[in-house]
Symmetry: C2
Subunit: 409 residues, 2 copies
């Protein structure tokens, strides 16, 4: 947690409704930090249905392995989350630590180990002392309540400067349902996924298979369309739960309520993903990069990510410089089909380049005004086809270097 | 050109021998800078044989297109180089500018346009006024001499903080030959190639086809094994000339003298490439990353580049932090075969991680001592096969952000 809140933080936090049968909370377990909460749990009174997506890192953390395994069962009773230690690259000790945490949680919350989900974020390579988790779980059990969403969103933070919460309600056939989501993440944010944890819970009773389909479908344009620094964490985890509260889960993907949940999920994931970008380490600008006219959507996304990950583009944006030459450079290095003489580039509504050269009507003052905004839209048209993609990133500042050169995350 | 010289600059410049029949020099053409030379030429008294490699950018500059076309002829009489303007993404104006520059040079130096090679470096997207080049060429013709290698190495600089020169001599059957090389480049350095220009000249008479083979063979482990910021320029150009001075060029690739030239070329390219890394914008550390035990050499190089391009690894090195967790992260994100529990990592001779966890004998003080060095060797063994690769990079500092957020390159 940083003392200075990102200038791009939302002006206010949403009011998070209670979700029946879902209680959560956090305590100070002393895992790494002092004088702050670092151990959280989300507890389901009845077995919940669960879906998840994880980092594509070839060196995932021990808790990621654990969750992947349990996901096959499709049922959850609790998720236990710690910050301060990622339990990643901890070898056999890491596996033992996960097993011990899951054993304690299953005892405390009265469920099977296969219904316990675990997530850890923080330093990599340090053994995680599971006895601290076991020792703190009884106190945590006493603290979980239905209204603790903001509290848990804070407890899972590492280098984040603000808690990330989003919620939607949707009404189907006279009945109102809810979807609450929280996330953490500020650096090492790149596709696919990020140093990012996100937990989403709905009260609509939906089968795990359908949840998984909704999550997988919506992740590509949200959490997998953002990048802070092109780095990918070993620990990225998004879990989506349906707290069925004993009701029979819906198994029909075409059910009206499922469609409404899918829409809400897309919105909540989009909001949370953009909050992660806005909390990008050292960020002072949010940048939306839209690529059109590519040979395919996949090609468009690769070009967009090449721009979004370019240090030269990101430092120019930090310097409020409408340096479209660096955009051309980043298009060129993407390795995707591009024709120099068909390229057009806009900052906001200002077309700065057209047909392979500076736009004749280009007004540097107008482009500079766009660059002074907090949120900068960049559009690149390749002029080749109909492929489109939009991704989001932030600028690269001296503060990013300071945060990551001094703090051992 | 920056006022502050990189702390990693070589202590002294090499003495560059004259190469018979090769004259060079520079003048102030006022292309962008004031009070410094910005237009250079290397002139061959007799037709030279020439080979080249260029950026793989899909949006190359107009001079790159021009050189690629002329390379087919295999003969050169001069190369004209300007700094301050890259003539990249300048559309039809850029093509016209190249034609006009080549026409002037062919008149001034008395050769065909197809024997004129051109290179430009500097700002992208601004039209390059060829009349400034034409106007300055007569004065440049008067200034070219055999001893002006340092002068030209300085005139081609942009954000470089020191001139980059390297030379080797080799003796075959009692006769001594020479290879001189100069380069510029400090940012936008990534494979394949860099915002990098390099010109190499030998007096050994060698056929263009053989030169091309030698250059292509030696570029992979030198200029294509360095990265400053993962960005790739539109203008990268390496040209290798044999000033045959009327002698018949050697056409036998197995000739002793060709082998000696190949060895010298490897050494000169290696020296120049490492100078580019040491002049990386804002760099305070040179980092050598050696990956062993990969499934293949290609896989090893991808993993090495993933480490070398990771902002989190590079900022940790700037902070002198032996943060091997970030190395694990970068191995994991490379997408290449890796087994978390077989990984071993060294900083210098200090093994910090072994079999998927922190080395039992790991001494943080000893690792910290390595991190304080100017030149930091990092080794990663994947434990899977025999593939190896070595790449070089530099750290990522606040100064990099300052240089690229303020200066419009």
């Amino acid at each position: 947690m940083s003392a200075k809140i990102s200038p791009l933080a939302p002006a206010r936090q949403p009011q998070m409704p209670a979700i029946a049968g879902v209680r959560l909370g956090s305590v100070e377990a002393g895992i790494r930090y002092r004088n702050r909460t670092d151990l959280s749990a989300i507890v389901f009174d009845h077995p919940a249905q669960v879906a998840g997506v994880f980092t594509r890192s070839k060196c995932p953390s021990a808790p990621v392995d654990w969750c992947r395994k349990n996901l096959a069962g499709g049922r959850a009773r609790c998720v236990v989350i710690n910050s301060g230690n990622a339990n990643a690259f901890t070898g056999k000790l890491g596996v033992a630590s996960v097993k011990e945490s899951a054993r304690s949680a299953s005892e405390i919350f009265g469920c099977k180990k296969g219904e316990v989900f675990l997530a850890s974020t923080g330093v990599i390579g340090e053994p995680l002392d599971a006895s601290r988790i076991s020792a703190a779980l009884p106190a945590l059990k006493q603290k979980v309540r239905e209204d603790q969403w903001p509290d848990v969103a804070s407890a899972i933070m590492t280098t984040d400067t603000f808690a990330k919460l989003s919620t939607r309600s949707f009404t189907v056939e006279g009945k109102t349902w809810h979807l609450n989501g929280i996330a953490k993440g500020a650096g090492m944010i790149a596709p696919d996924m990020a140093t990012m944890l996100s937990f989403l819970v709905t009260d609509l009773p939906v089968d795990a298979g359908i949840l998984q389909g909704l999550l997988s479908k919506n992740i590509g344009g949200t959490f997998n369309a953002i990048t802070v620094d092109s780095d990918t964490s070993t620990s990225d985890t998004v879990l989506l739960f349906s707290a069925c509260n004993g009701e029979k889960p819906i198994r029909d993907a075409r059910h009206k309520a499922v469609k409404a949940l899918g829409k809400a999920l897309g919105e909540v994931l989009h909001e949370l993903a953009l909050m992660v970008v806005c909390d990008g380490e050292g960020a002072t600008k949010q940048v939306e990069i839209k690529v059109t006219g590519a040979k395919s959507a996949k090609s468009a996304k690769r070009v967009a990510m090449s721009i979004a990950n370019s240090p030269l583009v990101k430092t120019a944006i930090a310097g409020e410089d409408a340096n479209w030459g660096r955009i051309v450079m980043a298009v060129g290095k993407a390795g995707e089909p591009a024709d120099r003489d068909r390229l057009a580039i806009w900052f906001g509504d200002i077309r700065v380049a057209h047909e392979g050269q500076r736009d004749g009507a280009y007004d540097e003052a107008a482009a500079s005004a766009v660059m002074k905004q907090d949120r900068i839209p960049v559009r690149v048209d390749l002029g080749l086809g109909k492929g489109e993609a939009t991704v989001w990133t932030c600028d690269l500042t001296k503060e990013y270097v300071a945060i990551n050169g001094d703090y051992r995350s």
